[in-house]
Symmetry: C2
Subunit: 256 residues, 2 copies
DNA sequence: CTTTCTCTAATCGTATGACTTTATCGCAGG
DNA sequence: CCTGCGATAAAGTCATACGATTAGAGAAAG
C-alpha cells in the first residue's frame, strides 16, 4: 500500500478499466518482471486476472506506447521497450515507479536532477513571484507546520510548497519537472516514515526558502533550496541504508 | 514543411491511422485552434477529413489523454485540457509544437530550462564519461564540421552531439530532457536557416566543450556549454525578431 | 552449401454495432 | 428553495470480423 495520486491529478483515470490494465502492465515492466522482450502475457493471462476485452487491452497498450514503455509492431508483437525510451519524467510513469520496488540508482538520478533544477526554479521564483504566488507558498508552508508529520495533509502540503515555487517561476517547461520533484518527495516519505526528527528539522529550512523568495533574493533562495534538496537526499539515502559520502561533499559546494 | 522525427524515434507511429489523427488533433490543440473547451469536432468532422472509425479515433484520444492534452469524462465529453496539464516535455508533444506556429514565450522557456540543465549535464559528462562516450561525441562533432550548414545530416549531427553529452552524464532522468534540448535546436534551425555565419561561429564552441569533457574538466565544460546555450538563444530570438537584452546580460553572468 | 526469393501465418490495425456505465440536467415532489 | 429521482448524452466496454504488415520458414536458384 503506497501513497498515490498526489501532485497534479493524472488524467489517466484509474478506476477506468483500461487504466487498471495500463497500470498493471506498467508496473510489471518497470519492476522488471517483464524485460525488454516479448510483452503481452499472451493476451489471455490478462483475461485470467481481469476479464477484459480486446478494446480495453488495446487502449491500455496505446497509453503505454504514448509513454514509451512498449513498442508495438505488426508481426513481431508488442514488446516492452528498453529503459532509454521510457518517458521517465511523465507523471504517470513516475507514479508507477512508486508502485514498484525502490530503484536506488533511479532515486539518486531524480535527486540529482532536482538538485540542478529546483534551486534555479527558486531563483526565478524570487525574481518573478507575484503576491498571489507568495500567498500560495505561505499557505502550503502553514499546512506543513500545522499538521502532524507524515500525515496525508502534511505530505500534500509539502508537495504543494514545492509546486507553488515552480509555479511562481513562470516557466511552463520548468514546471513540468514539478512532478519529478514530487516523486522524490514521495520516495522520501515512503522510505523514512517515522523519522519525525528529520522532518521537523527541515521545517525552518523551508521557511528560510520562503523568506528569501519574499525578499526577492534570488541567489539566497537558490542556495537555501539547494541545501534543502541535499538534506533530503541524505536522509532519504540513509533510510535506504547506503553510504552517501559524495552527496555530503556536494552540499558544502552548493550552499557555499 | 518542417524538420521532423529527429532525436529518438517516437514510438507513436505516424503512418498508422490513429497516429495521424492524434497528430492532427494535437496540433489543433497546441496551436490554439481548439481552446480548453469542447474538443471532438463532433466526431463527424473528423470523418470529413479522413474517414476514420471510432476505434482509430478513440485510440488517438487515448494517446492524447496519456500526454495530458485532453480529458475525457463520461457525460460532459472530451475536452482539450488547460496548458498546465500538458506534458510539455514529452517528445511527441514537443515535436507537435514544431508543427504549430512558434510560440515565443514557450521557446524562451525551453531555452531557459536548457540553460539550467545542459551545463550541469556537461559537467557530469566530464566527470563520468567513458572512452565510448567520447567517441560518440567526437563522431557527432565531426558530422557537424564535415557537412554543409543546415543540411539534414548536419542538424542530425548537432542533435546527436548534445544527446551524446547527456548520455555520458549517466543519469536516466536527466537524459529525458535531451528531447527538450533537441526541440530548441530544431526551433533554431527552423527560424534561422540561411544564417550560416552564426552556425559556423558556433563550431569552435562545440569543439571547446568537447575538449573540456575529454580533459575531465567539469567546471570548464559547464561554463562553455552555458555559453553555447546563451549564444544559441540570442541568435534564435534575433531571428524571431525580438530584442533580448536580458539574455545577453545572462551570458556574462554564466560564463564569467 | 549459401544466397535469394516467395509465400504463409501470426499479429497488430481498423471497422462496426450493440450494450453498459457514468454523471449531468431538468423535472417533480417535498 | 431544497431534495431527489429519473431521463439522457457521452464515454467506456464488449464482441466480431476483416485488412495490412512483416518475421520467418521453406522453396528455388546459384
Amino acid at each position: 500500500m503506497r501513497i498515490r495520486d498526489f501532485s497534479r491529478p493524472t488524467t489517466l483515470n484509474e478506476d477506468r478499466l483500461f487504466g487498471q490494465v495500463a497500470q498493471k502492465l506498467a508496473v510489471a515492466i518497470i519492476s522488471g518482471r517483464i524485460h525488454a522482450g516479448e510483452l503481452l502475457p499472451n493476451e489471455d493471462d490478462l483475461r485470467a486476472d481481469i476479464s477484459v476485452s480486446r478494446t480495453a487491452y488495446r487502449e491500455a497498450v496505446k497509453v503505454l506506447t504514448a509513454k514509451g514503455l512498449v513498442e508495438a509492431r505488426p508481426r513481431s508483437g508488442t514488446r516492452a521497450a528498453p529503459r532509454e525510451r521510457w518517458n521517465l519524467l511523465d507523471p504517470d510513469v513516475l507514479s508507477w515507479h512508486l508502485e514498484a520496488d525502490p530503484n536506488e540508482k533511479f532515486i539518486r538520478d531524480l535527486f540529482e536532477l532536482r538538485r540542478f533544477v529546483e534551486p534555479s526554479a527558486a531563483r526565478l521564483a524570487a525574481q518573478r513571484r507575484s503576491a498571489a504566488d507568495i500567498a500560495r507558498i505561505e499557505a502550503a508552508y502553514r499546512g506543513m507546520v500545522e499538521n502532524p508529520p507524515y500525515a496525508e495533509v502534511t505530505i500534500r502540503a509539502d508537495l504543494a510548497f514545492h509546486e507553488a515555487i515552480f509555479a511562481a517561476a513562470q516557466n511552463a517547461a520548468l514546471q513540468c519537472l514539478a512532478s519529478a520533484v514530487a516523486a522524490t518527495l514521495q520516495w522520501s516519505m515512503l522510505l523514512k516514515t517515522g523519522d519525525e526528527a528529520a522532518y521537523v528539522e527541515s521545517l525552518p529550512d523551508h521557511e528560510h526558502v520562503l523568506t528569501a523568495i519574499v525578499e526577492r533574493d534570488g541567489d539566497l533562495a537558490a542556495a537555501r533550496m539547494a541545501g534543502l534538496v541535499i538534506d533530503s537526499l541524505n536522509t532519504t539515502l540513509a533510510s535506504l541504508g547506503s553510504e552517501v559520502p559524495e552527496a555530503k561533499i556536494a552540499r558544502i559546494k552548493h550552499t557555499k
